[in-house]
């Protein structure tokens, strides 16, 4: 991809990231952090890509470890966030 396209995506995503969470009550800080935490679990996609093209046992071993860790991050992150938010269900007036 063209570097300028990548830089554009990056800069725009920075602003979107700033914008979406600029007003959030402290009650939701923990679930929001946990949800964002789960989102960066998509590094799983990167781990699968490098596992695919790893050529030595060392590379494959490291990639497999990365897949395990990334899966824990992603799936565990979404599940625990859901549990936190479940507590608030129906409690709002």
């Amino acid at each position: 991809m063209e570097p300028i396209a990548i830089i554009s995506i990056f800069v725009l995503a920075v602003f979107v990231g700033f914008e979406v969470v600029s007003k959030v009550s402290s009650t939701l800080h923990t679930p929001l952090m946990s949800g964002a935490n789960a989102i960066h679990g998509v590094i799983l996609v990167g781990a699968i890509i490098v596992a695919d093209h790893s050529e030595t046992n060392l590379e494959l071993g490291l990639a497999v470890a990365a897949i395990v860790l990334a899966t824990i991050n992603m799936v565990g992150g979404f599940v625990v966030t859901d549990r936190m938010l479940e507590m608030f269900k129906g409690k709002k007036k």
Binding site: I9, T30, G35, A36, V42, I72, V80, M84
Partner: protein, 468 residues
């Protein structure tokens, strides 16, 4: 699947993540937001099996992916570990689980970068090498830093700031070494310098988090979370994945803002949180605290005090959650309400171990939402409050935050229970709170202490109050 379709689906997942963060910022849409995020992540993960992507230097091959068995097996292991951990964790221990998940994410990003580095041949551009080295450094810092925060929250090690002689020089020297070795790795591709770099970065992560203590720990988790986001974005550049760039940058940016919001909620400057401890002197924690007289009371004394009160404010803290006393507290509150007493809960934004943690715990015990009042609402009412009951909280009501410059929590907004006519502390012992600071309020003549497990004490108070 064509490259275009692959990228479009990646973009759709990116949009899902934006909607997820947007949803998570509002109470009504929070749960749906999280589900949208999970959907986006699932979509992104499924689609990667149908297109042989990157690296730019790699050679495309036909489907299926190489090492498919290993990939699926590793995902199964991750599921088998992650799901039960997330399902079974006690809500009191949830902050450290989030720290741990963040750490493994950082570790995964660092491992991906290391594999990528081993794989990058002479065809790699300088930019790709620089981004890879960046990911290794920040991923390792996030990993080891998160492990330390996990250990602090789990109380596997001291929760206080760990400050050692010449600490800041050691930290500065480590940082300089990390940057130096990083430059070396960029200049001369080699496995050994990379491993040295990873080791130094892990060390830096540990040193970076050790001096942080008490209420500042969640701020650091949030910051490391943002760091991990940036590593994912950098990986996206190297692996030519728009999705990883979008997702990583979103988390990096929103995580930075969130870190600042959290710091503001606690009245801390971000800079002070991260570097304040570097300059702090080790506190004299031995003190003469234990020898000073305190007024301790019986459950009957407490019940009598409550019986004649018109307004009572309950200030729950982490100790309440540890004792699993949420339901007993509710019983006491209901009993007081039936006696015509005005009852409210004063919730400090960082009561518990993380911002919003206490709201989650009380919601779990079905405490009506309209009885929970935030700090700004409740503080002006303490002067009309007859009794403030502090249950297993300490730092969030410690007047030292207002009148002792230089103490680790100085500047943190507190619940001003000292303005109430009477203060009752339910405590297990005279041990200081998470931040490790003595609380002068415990020695105040209008304070009564009721020692013991919060749940057992509350049950006795309920019984005594019923008898009156």
């Amino acid at each position: 699947m064509s490259r275009t379709l692959y990228d479009l689906i990646g973009l759709a997942a990116g949009v899902a993540f934006i909607l997820a963060l947007k949803g998570l910022s509002h109470p009504k849409t929070a749960r749906r937001g999280n589900l949208i995020g999970a959907f986006g992540a699932t979509l992104a993960t499924v689609v990667v099996f149908f297109f042989v992507a990157g690296p730019k230097t790699g050679v495309a091959h036909a489907l299926p992916l190489n090492h498919l068995g290993w990939i699926l097996g590793a995902m199964a292991v991750g599921l088998a570990v992650g799901v039960p951990a997330a399902r079974k964790v006690e809500m009191t221990q949830m902050p450290q689980l989030v720290a741990l998940f963040n750490g493994v994410g950082g570790g995964a990003a660092a491992l991906v970068a290391i594999v990528e580095y081993l794989h990058l041949g002479s065809g790699a551009t300088k930019a790709e090498v620089i981004f890879t080295v960046f990911t290794v450094i920040v991923g390792c810092v996030s990993f080891s830093g998160s492990i330390i925060t996990f250990m602090k929250l789990q109380e596997l090690m001291t929760t206080r700031p760990v400050i050692f002689p010449a600490g800041r020089f050691i930290i500065a020297a480590t940082l300089v070494s990390v940057i130096g070795v990083g430059g070396w790795v960029v200049a001369a591709l080699g496995t050994t310098p990379l491993l040295i770099l990873a080791g130094l970065s892990l060390l830096f992560g540990v040193l970076f988090v050790l001096p942080v203590g008490g209420a500042d720990v969640p701020i650091v988790i949030s910051l490391l979370n943002a760091f991990t986001g940036l590593t994912v974005a950098a990986s996206g550049y190297v692996l030519d994945s728009v999705l990883l760039i979008i997702a990583g940058t979103l988390v990096g940016a929103s995580g930075t803002i969130l870190t600042r919001l959290m710091a503001e909620a606690m009245g801390r400057s971000l800079f002070g949180t991260l570097f304040g401890a570097f300059t702090a002197k080790p506190q004299d924690t031995s003190g003469t605290a234990e020898e000073r007289p305190v007024r301790s009371g019986s459950p009957d004394d407490v019940a009598i005090l409550l019986n004649y009160a018109r307004r009572v404010v309950i200030v729950p803290g982490f100790g309440l959650a540890v004792a699993q006393a949420q339901h007993t507290v509710r019983e006491l509150a209901d009993l007081m309400i039936s006696k015509g007493i005005d009852v409210a809960y004063g919730i400090h934004p960082v009561a518990g171990r993380m911002p919003g943690h206490m709201n989650v715990l009380l919601a779990e015990a079905n405490v009506p939402y309209d009885q929970l009042e935030e700090m700004d609402e409740i503080n002006p009412t303490f002067s009309q409050t007859d009794v403030a009951i502090v249950i297993g909280a300490n730092d969030v009501v410690n007047p030292a935050a207002e009148n002792t410059p230089g103490c680790p929590i100085y500047g943190m907004p507190i619940l001003k229970v000292a303005n109430a006519a009477n203060v009752i502390f339910l405590k297990r012992s005279m041990r200081p709170g998470f931040a490790g600071i003595e609380n002068e309020l415990l020695y105040d003549p209008k304070t009564m202490l009721l020692f013991g497990d919060a749940k057992a004490s509350l049950t006795k108070v309920v019984t005594a109050l019923k008898a009156l």
